[in-house]
């Protein structure tokens, strides 16, 4: 075993004996394209709704609740899928979120929320994670579509206009502060600011 590792080290630590530098560069480039492309393809495949709801925990709970909301069905047919709201679009943030998601794989393996009852019992905690995340990134996933710059207050209801032109405009509040439970049902809201 040790000999084999030594052999390998000998091979990679010395200049190539048989292959020209050109071949090595081109081969390296091609291999790079294949590996990187493969990685990204897999990453993108895990970033689809079909992937998310391939687990019954997601399909039977949160996905069913999404269906009746405006983010799933509406007059113009533009809809948000799971990753639109739950995964950052920016690459580094996306990778960071994907690494956090290993906890979700853990949860799947150890059946943390494999029944509706377990899910409901844990819902407040799970919801709080998402609220905290959106609070911390200033509701980035909302703003990927709902850009404050292009909001026409004159087309909004009076109450919406009042809230958006004050707290939101000053940056004191962010979307998630008021818009909780817009895509899924809410947990017990006792003690949550603004909900009593």
């Amino acid at each position: 075993m040790l000999d084999k590792i030594k052999d390998l080290w000998q091979t990679i630590s010395h200049p190539s004996r048989y292959y020209s530098l050109g071949i090595l560069i081109i081969a390296g480039f091609v291999a790079g394209v294949i590996f990187w492309g493969g990685f990204n393809t897999v990453l993108e495949a895990t970033n689809t709704e079909t992937f998310c709801i391939s687990c019954h925990e997601m399909e039977n709970n949160v996905y069913q609740e999404l269906k009746s909301t405006i983010h799933y069905t509406n007059r113009s047919g533009v809809r948000a899928t799971c990753p639109d709201c739950h995964v950052p679009h920016n690459w580094t943030d996306k990778i960071a979120r994907k690494m956090q998601a290993s906890k979700e794989v853990w949860g799947k393996i150890f059946k943390t929320i494999d029944t509706r009852e377990k899910f409901l019992a844990k819902r407040r905690e799970l919801a709080e994670h998402e609220w905290d995340r959106l609070k911390a990134n200033d509701s980035l996933e909302c703003r990927n579509c709902h850009d404050f710059q292009y909001m026409d207050f004159t087309r909004q209801g009076k109450r919406a206009e009042a809230a958006h032109s004050t707290g939101l405009a000053k940056g004191e509040k962010t979307c998630i502060d008021c818009h909780k439970g817009i895509a899924h049902e809410l947990p017990d809201m006792a003690g949550v600011e603004g909900w009593q």
Partner: protein, 147 residues
Amino acid sequence: MRSIILILLLIPLLAIAEQNIATLRANDIAVEPDAPRMGNEENKDIKRKRNYPMQPPTIPHKISGYRIDLNSNKCLSCHSRRQVADSQAPMVSVTHYMDREGNFLAEVSPRRYFCNQCHVPQMEVKPLVENVFQDVDAILDENKKKQ
């Protein structure tokens, strides 16, 4: 005997009469009619007049998507005592903080928790039937004129 025959002859006529009974259902019982179009909820945020003093005020804004369940009550997130300073919405009536013996509670009474049992939004639609409701003032005026 003759009368029995007469009655028997009348039965088919009764059956025909039954088909002409006034009903709100336009289609035959076996036909699934098209659903009526959904109206637009009025969203003007302007208080409406109450038809009588005890009438639960109607909701002058959209409430589609507002959840009221065991876990959360979207209405109270603006109209509860704690929230009105922020939201500038009218506070739910003090009667909603009483139990049925009239004792005051810290929270909205459970029997008043489901807001849209009494408070409803209004749609911009043509009424299906004519409304002949008369305001108490109109009745008093009428009585005065009679005297």
